[in-house]
Subunit: 126 residues, 2 copies
DNA sequence: CTGTATCCCCGTAGATACTG
DNA sequence: CAGTATCTACGGGGATACAG
């Protein structure tokens, strides 16, 4: 788990992008939303991510104050992830980004279909 | 100039992040703002970026429809960059991201000062 | 079930030198 | 002035196997 070294400079935007500028973080935020999800649920919903990477991303988001990790000492183990207030505050901005992309979308070749948000996801995405 | 391969899947958010999820693109958008800037002016304002990388980023942003490149056939050569409508539409979202980061900012060690936006930049930044 | 531990690939950034 | 052309290094992301 190497700390993201992007944006060592501390422009607000630079810091913001370092917190969510990676490949998966914005998606993880959008998938968690306002509920609690177990590790396995996250892995299933974003089924193209490897478990190692998912773990890494979650750890970084945790130390960036975006997600809360709750570990239940049970057998079998259970861990639930949810968004912090900071993470929740990010949601509307991410929705704006989606709108922006959708609005200015240029038809692209070889697109795979994928509806991550905008509709409730209760099954696999991506 | 290799096309960004992040986010091959086509979730709106994925596509959005592929258009501005790189290290410099959001900053470039914020620096250009609503004016035209010459290549050299951009390079000076973001003085820690190498010219090669700046060129690469601008080319990608051009093909993503974020910036307009105007080349004047003069000597010495002059090239002006400005934001497209799509790029301009991104500005308010980036400002929101800045606000978000600023609001939830956790005091960090070894910060370098840098005020990229929020105040008018007419000199070097970063 | 929820992760680690390794290993490897490949893209991106960066430095430097050169060009029309 | 506004880029190219190379070359290199780094590190994130992915695959796989294993562990508590």
């Amino acid at each position: 788990m190497v700390k993201n070294e992007l944006m060592k400079y501390s422009c607000p935007l630079g810091k913001a992008m370092s917190a969510l500028g990676s490949k998966w973080k914005p998606i993880i935020v959008l998938v968690i939303k306002d509920r609690k999800l177990r590790f396995g649920e996250l892995a299933v919903r974003i089924n193209v991510i490897s478990r190692k990477v998912l773990t890494d991303q979650l750890r970084e988001m945790q130390s960036d104050g975006l997600v809360i990790r709750e570990e239940f000492k049970e057998l079998p183990p259970r861990v639930e992830y949810s968004l912090t207030e900071k993470g929740l505050a990010l949601l509307p901005i991410l929705y704006l980004l989606e709108e922006w992309e959708t609005k200015y979308h240029v038809k692209d070749l070889n697109e795979q279909d994928c509806n991550l948000v905008g509709k409730e996801i209760e099954k696999t995405v991506v």
